[in-house]
Amino acid sequence: MAGSHSDPLAHPEVRQGSAVRYIAGFISTVVLMGAALVVTMRHGLDYQSLVEVVGGLAALALLSQAALFYGLDISRAQIWKGVSLILTVPLFIITVGLTVWMFQSLDQRTMVMPASNAAASQPTLLQ
């Protein structure tokens, strides 16, 4: 830290950046997100496969951004990036996990169910 204070270009994070990485990151992001948009707009897939395909594309976009923009790698110089990313994992699990749980429960309790599986589900106010 001490040596790099007067010369910002000496930071390992700054040295890591390159035009090729940024352009590659930009193109891969646009392509992956565009693909997700096209898949959604075409309505060609059933619900389950749509979720899987869009989820897969999102994961790929996330990976390419983390590697190409954010410069995530396992080198010693980038350890703070790894640590800060890992620290966000619990938040990701909490927000997405609890949201899935609450909407799952909400769906079961408030949506009218077909008679065939009504017996297997929790009682709702509608019954």
Binding site: M1, H5, S6, D7, P8, T88, L91, I94, T95, L98, T99, W101, M102, F103, S105, L106, Q108, R109, T110, Q122
Partner: protein
Amino acid sequence: MQLQVPGPWSLLLGRLTLDQIPYTNPILQVTFAVAALIGLVIVGAVLYYKKVGYLWREWLTTVDHKKIGVMYIIVGLVMLFRGFADGLLIRTQQVLANGPHAAGYIGATHGFLPPFHFDQVYSAHGTIMILFAATPILTGFQNIVVPLQIGARDMAFPYMNAVSLWLTTAAAVLVMISLFVGDFSQAGWVGLIPLTELPYSPGVGVDYWMWAIQISSVGTTLNAINMIVTIVDMRAPGMTWFRMPVFSWTTLSTNIIGLTAFPVLGVALALLGADRYLGTHFFTAGMGGNLMLYTNLFWIWGHPEVYFLILPTFGVLSEVIPAFSQKPLFGYVTMVAATFAIAGISWLVWLHHFFTMGAGPDINGFFSVATMLVGIPTGVKVFNWMFTLYRGRITYTVPMLWAMFGLFLLLVGGLTGMMLAIPAINYTVHDSVFVIAHFHCMVLMVVCAGFAGVTYWFPKLFGFKLNECWGKAFFWTFAVGTVTVFTAMFALGFEGETRRLDWTFNTAWKPMLVVEEVGMIIYVLSLALFAVMLVVSIRDRNKQKLAADPWETSRTLEWLTPTPIPFYNYAVTPQVNTRDELAWRRKYGMEHTKPDAYEDIHMPSNSGLPVILGALAGIWGFAMIWRIWWLAAISLLGVVLIVIIRSFDKNAGYHLQPAEIEAMERDLSIGAITAEQPDRSHHIITHAEAH
């Protein structure tokens, strides 16, 4: 792919037409006249005293964390005043429009505000108070105090700090413009869905709300990054983690919350924007959309945001209470642990804002328990403050009075919060004014700590104290006003008054509504006293010359700097020896020690780019609101150009030479010789002569 919007649209002006300017509304006529008058006086004064150059060089282009902090607080106080005016309108409307026979004035059926206007007033009140008053004031404190407390020269990224300020200011300006051009959202500060969708809010109100929040939240996120890096990386030698003052700890935790939570808000508003501008269906009731998804995303940000506000407040109390009890803070380590516990739990409780959604007993139970858990670390904090006060040598200065009243409000707000955490009670009082009274206790605690902080740190920054007598008058009227308004509001909540009523239909509510209005009048009086306090203090500023620690009992590092603080903060980076560094140095008679030699100081250069960038962001927001596509494109291009220009800027700041620093330090101590505290000045004389 432009969506059809109702009303005219032209290529040149978008949706903007002359009809959109509400010049026929008498309330807005008066507001405009007052605003124009204040504006003219300010601009006139700047021109008359030939201060345009000074304003540009010293303030608008500054990257100094202290000046940026001061400007944050000024923006916050202006918006606080605006938000208060909205609050006054709400209270007055509700007391005038009570019962079926309530008279109507200036075009309203009951009271003086038609529903269309009233809805905008409460939406603006909430949005402004949370995002444009409380947040900037607290951010301002963090900007001013944290670098000083940890012994740093400035923030880690001074340029980005200025960018954050001007983005926040641009957003605040957009909210103000909505008064006179178009209208503001009628969907509450939370953006009640699906009311914010285009078919139900076809005007520009929701767009004003949405883009203003979006722009300011970018500023807040950048500021959070800046704060975290500053605290992690810029601490003075010896300032280990567990020597760091509690305010810096709370700033760290609050900005971790800010950094992780604000992007969620950004996403929620961007998806809403996609619905309104592109015709998607993220939050509509049909076409695969889900209304509650918006509410969910909003509160995933919204609840951590509450702690984003409250944690720095706790930090201020943790500085003020020990200083005026003349004792170290009780339970420092538990205080830090409690801070992070609250920050952690803040992510687990958001569903309590919509218990009534119907997610079921398991989920409501989980979030109810999680919410109550917040009470444990908060209780730890309250007891720590209590034990700090216990057998302390308490002086009831103005900051201490604010802190004590803040504690009282925390207790009332916290206990009613525990009640609301119980789903059964929550179902009963959901959307009643009981909830409003609860969270106003909490946010008024933020305001109390804000005024505690203003009066506490003011002399450090400006070199003179705020008048103690008028300060106390301001405090007592404010405190009495608060208790009067919100005691009555709790009662009205139990009487079944729901929130956001433009017409209070039940005549049984009348007595308590009148009590609330009386409280508002006391508030108005307190505001007048605040103004008097400022005027008297500024008038008498030369009557007092203050030493480094004007309160004489402060404990932390920031009070080691000369008063007022020079722009380079510390002539020599301090070596920190212990927690409560100043108290330790005072004990061993080392508070006035001068360094043997000075080294040159690397300072960042001022830059005009942040203020231009803020202005362009504001223009971009305005263009998006009114759908003036060419203007939006040009201003966005301008923003990109500014970023590119900046990245090629080779200006790496400048160096202050040791001789210059020595001369400035000598001038500062000569200023202190004329102080009315001879013994302290004597010290300074001998040391100044010795070096």
